[in-house]
């Protein structure tokens, strides 16, 4: 297992290095730069101003040279300065990570808390009335556009009923925990509703498959209670494919939820990544995307470890490179 973990960590470093260059190059190859945008919005800026600022921000240098300078500084722990947030890139990143963990993490937990038990429950009687209703709900959740769902919830709970804020974070002085929860409610609900369908369908399918296996029939023949068969025998096996999906979702947690964050003006990672790319904020975009990549790799690693825990037959030490 130790050797396996070492190999995976080494692979992750290589992937991160490759990603850093790819992301830097892609952003650098995009047409226009922040100074071009400044000129369009400020009639008093002259061509001389533009040239001076491009030189100051290093935008007149070749892309590879800029990347090499960034990489050297990054390896020394200096990830550069965010032009959009006017602070070091890491300082701009952390608040967004925290916001995203709160928003996406809560919705992720909520979605799993609903989807996994519901998936197990409906898998017991596929095609039954409950299964049909749950399927309808799932497909609605999967197919509804996040933008539309967000607006719908805002219009219902914030505008018509006036029960919840339409989004953002509390701005009132001395806002309490209740205020924070209220502001979180609609974006969490939006994200959870969007995720539940997918996880529930995965759980249901995996459970149906597991319930068809011989060992389940054997367990039933041994006279075990239906609940014990379900939870102790079928569920652990059904969880293996679900863990893969959940682990990938874990990585996605930290890249945020762009549309939902935008609709609810939630200052999270999705919005940060989008803004930094659109604003040609190289340093911030790089740090944010690399962080999301790192977490995705970590999520996959956790999934692999979880396999071993769920299925004793999986032993990574025996894998050959």
């Amino acid at each position: 297992m130790t050797r396996f973990l070492g190999q995976r960590l080494l692979q992750s470093i290589v992937v991160l290095l490759a990603m850093s260059f790819v992301v830097y190059a892609l952003i650098g190859l995009m047409p226009g730069d922040p100074i071009d945008m400044m000129i369009k919005s400020d009639p008093r800026m002259t061509a001389a101003d533009a040239q001076r600022l491009k030189a100051l921000y290093g935008l007149d240098q070749p892309l590879v040279g800029r990347y090499w300078a960034w990489l050297q500084a990054a390896l020394a722990g200096n990830f550069g300065y965010s032009r959009l947030f006017a602070r070091p890139a890491l300082d701009a990143l952390w608040p967004a990570v925290q916001s995203t963990v709160i928003l996406v993490g809560t919705s992720f937990v909520l979605a799993l808390a609903v989807a996994l038990p519901a998936g197990v429950w409906v898998a017991r009687r596929p095609g039954g009335r409950a299964d049909r209703w749950v399927n309808l709900f799932c497909f609605a959740g999967i197919s509804v556009p996040p933008f539309w769902l967000a607006i719908l919830l805002i219009m219902l709970f914030a505008v018509k009923l006036g029960l919840l804020p339409a989004g953002g974070v509390p701005t009132r002085a001395g806002a309490g925990i209740g205020d924070h929860i209220a502001h979180l409610a609609l974006p969490v609900l939006t994200l959870a509703l969007l995720q539940i369908g997918g996880y529930l369908r995965f759980m249901r399918a995996a459970m149906i498959e597991a319930l068809r296996q011989d060992y389940v029939r054997t367990a039933e023949a041994k006279g075990l209670s239906p609940m014990r068969v379900l939870l102790s025998h079928a569920l652990p096996n059904a969880l293996i494919p679900v863990v893969t999906v959940v682990a990938l979702g874990f990585g996605g947690l930290f890249s945020g939820a762009l549309i939902t964050e935008n609709m609810f003006a939630w200052p999270g990672m999705g919005k940060l990544i989008f803004d930094s790319i659109m604003g040609n904020d190289f340093n911030l975009a790089l740090v944010a995307l690399l962080f999301a990549t790192l977490l995705t790799l970590l999520g996959n690693l956790l999934a692999d470890i979880a396999y071993a825990l769920l299925d004793p037959r999986i032993v990574y030490a025996e894998l050959k490179p």
Binding site: P31, L56, A92, T171, F264, P267, K271
Partner: protein, 568 residues
């Protein structure tokens, strides 16, 4: 077991209303939007968040809106578009003796302009606003690596004389019509900022206290000061006790950034925000639809301004090189009908690049009217006759066909584009639509003159702003000048160059107006660009908010925030 389940089934419905009502009541109490409960608070929604609060780095409209409440420029344009003093006491002029022409060592003529700072102007930490701040700001602006955006002012202001703690004189190396305007000169607090600049000028933009210590009261001297900053989300302002002017009404003003304008509207309707600013708010079509649905609850103000929607034409295109074809293209368009039908008549049709609200606008100038027959005659005269299918072609069988580009995703422009295509088709002109995202269009296609036919977008201007960057022949982007300049069409007119240069140095107002008239007539005669209309901003205000007067120019309404009131 069964009994327990049955009990649960029985009791759950009984508990649900109590549980739910408790939760909803708690949520209601906790989430009541501040703007709806606190009558001393005003929550403003806008679609952008400022990247820095330093007034001289990285020009952004969102920053202007916030900072105009917390500080004041020396000079600004008022609601009537007249230049006034704000931080200075008297607007210097040659007539009142505060501006004096002087000879420069190289034999040219310059001008010395003397300003006095408002005697009661004090930074929020009690330090007077003084000429030390002026001196420091000038040094920062003149440093090539300080990161200051528009630096033309600092290039021209070659010398600064400090008379006393409140009086100073700038010496400019050129006498221009706007010699007394200090619009680009935003005074910085030397007592807080000087150390960071002196330590390492090139790092100043990263170490300015406006970003590292944004809520320091010493950074502001306006009616309000910034008391809370949540990056990417909101900025909170509260009254500044050292403010020397009229006392502001609101005890707290919150700027909330909500980039999606649909969400912005929903936030307004829910009471989470009180007012949507026009400069960074709803688009005109959204504003019109909003007014139809909710006009009885809100005041919706449409303010046309200085954003000039137009069509650039690549004058290297042989077909567009012909002035007759350009005129015919404009005559074939019913722009008034477009404005009326798509924008409720709120966007005035542009005669030229000069706004009708600007004092230099020539009232006698006639807008090119919709005249399909006249357009047809001009096309015929230029050799473009109707051919098969009614489309025009020349003697060689070449079709009169152009590519029309605009910013992809801008619904308003894309709608206009389709109407233009249809109207030009009626005139026998074939239009191919090809749109690109703004950063591609502006970062590559327009900037590097890669559009083959026409590109529809907007120029932002200022009152009496000379069209040097857009119409002077030296401003045509080329490889040699590293694609700088905004004369993307490639318009080169010796007469226009002369007029721009003459107007820039003409101090006599009447003579300047005459030069502007010539400039507009030449523009209308040459038609290097097809004028469409001046964009209108949509301000959505609650009925109780009074005193907000949109200006239509780059000095927006928050400069007069102390006169904003809640009147029930």
């Amino acid at each position: 077991m069964a009994a327990t389940e049955g009990q649960l089934r029985y009791t759950a419905p009984m508990r649900k209303p109590i549980w739910m009502s408790t939760l909803l009541a708690a949520a209601l109490a906790a989430s009541m939007p501040a703007g709806a409960t606190d009558k001393d608070e005003l929550v403003i929604g806008m679609t952008q968040y400022p990247s820095t609060l330093n007034p001289n780095i990285d020009p952004m409209l969102a920053k202007t809106l916030v900072l105009d409440m917390a500080r004041r420029p020396f000079t600004a344009y008022d609601v009537q578009w007249q230049m006034i003093c704000m931080l200075c006491v008297t607007l210097p002029t040659i007539e009142n003796g505060l501006a004096v022409l002087e000879d420069l060592p190289d034999g040219k003529q310059g001008i010395a302009v003397t300003y006095a700072i408002q005697p009661k102007a004090i930074w929020g930490d009690g330090t007077p606003v003084s000429t030390k701040d002026v001196q420091f700001t000038w040094e920062v602006g003149r440093h090539p690596q300080s990161g200051v955006g528009a630096a033309e002012f600092y290039r021209r202001a070659y010398k600064l004389d400090i008379k006393d703690a409140k009086t100073f004189t700038f010496h400019f190396d050129k006498v221009t019509y706007d010699y007394n305007g200090l619009g680009d000169f935003n005074v910085l607090p030397a007592h807080l900022e000087a150390a960071a600049f002196a330590a390492e000028p090139v790092e100043y933009r990263h170490r300015t206290r406006y970003d590292t210590d944004s809520t320091n009261p010493g950074l502001y001297f306006g009616p309000y000061r910034v008391v809370e900053v949540k990056a990417g989300s909101h900025i909170v302002l509260e009254p500044n006790p050292t403010w020397y002017g009229d006392k502001p009404f609101f005890k707290r003003i919150v700027f909330r950034a909500i980039e999606n304008s649909v969400a912005l509207e929903a936030n307004l309707l829910s009471g989470a925000i009180d007012y949507i600013t026009g400069e960074l708010g709803l688009t005109l079509d959204q504003g019109l639809a909003f007014e139809q649905r909710h006009g009885q609850k809100y005041d919706v103000i449409y303010k046309p301004g200085l954003i000039y929607e137009h069509i650039d034409m690549n004058l290297d295109n042989p077909m567009l090189k012909d002035g007759g074809v350009r005129r015919a293209l404009l005559m074939a368009l019913d722009r008034q009908s477009i404005s009326d039908k798509l924008f409720g008549g709120k966007q005035p049709v542009a005669a030229t690049f000069v706004s009708p609200l600007d004092w230099v606008f020539d009232d006698a100038l006639k807008t090119v009217a919709f005249d399909p027959e006249g357009a047809g005659r001009l096309f015929d005269e230029a050799g473009w006759k109707r051919g098969p299918g009614g489309m025009r072609q020349n003697a060689e069988g070449q079709k009169l066909s152009f590519e029309l580009m605009t910013t992809a995703g801008n619904r308003s422009r894309e709608t206009v584009q389709q109407v233009l295509q249809a109207q030009w088709k009626q005139a026998g002109v074939d239009i191919r639509i090809r749109n690109e995202p703004p950063r591609v269009l502006f970062g590559e296609t327009v900037t590097k003159r890669k559009f083959t036919g026409m590109a529809m977008y907007a120029w932002v201007s200022a009152p009496e702003h000379l069209p040097r960057t857009t119409l002077h022949s030296e401003e045509i982007p080329t490889q040699a000048n590293n694609w700088s300049g905004q004369n993307a069409g490639g318009y080169a007119s010796k007469r226009m160059d002369e007029l721009i240069e003459a107007t820039e140095v003409e101090l006599d107002r009447a003579k300047r107006k005459a030069l502007w008239k010539d400039m507009q007539e030449l523009y209308l005669a040459d038609l290097p660009v097809l004028p469409l209309y001046f964009r209108a901003d949509v301000f959505v205000l609650p009925k109780w908010l009074k005193g907000v007067t949109p200006t239509g120019h780059l000095n927006p309404a928050p400069l007069w925030v102390e006169y904003w009131r809640r009147v029930e």
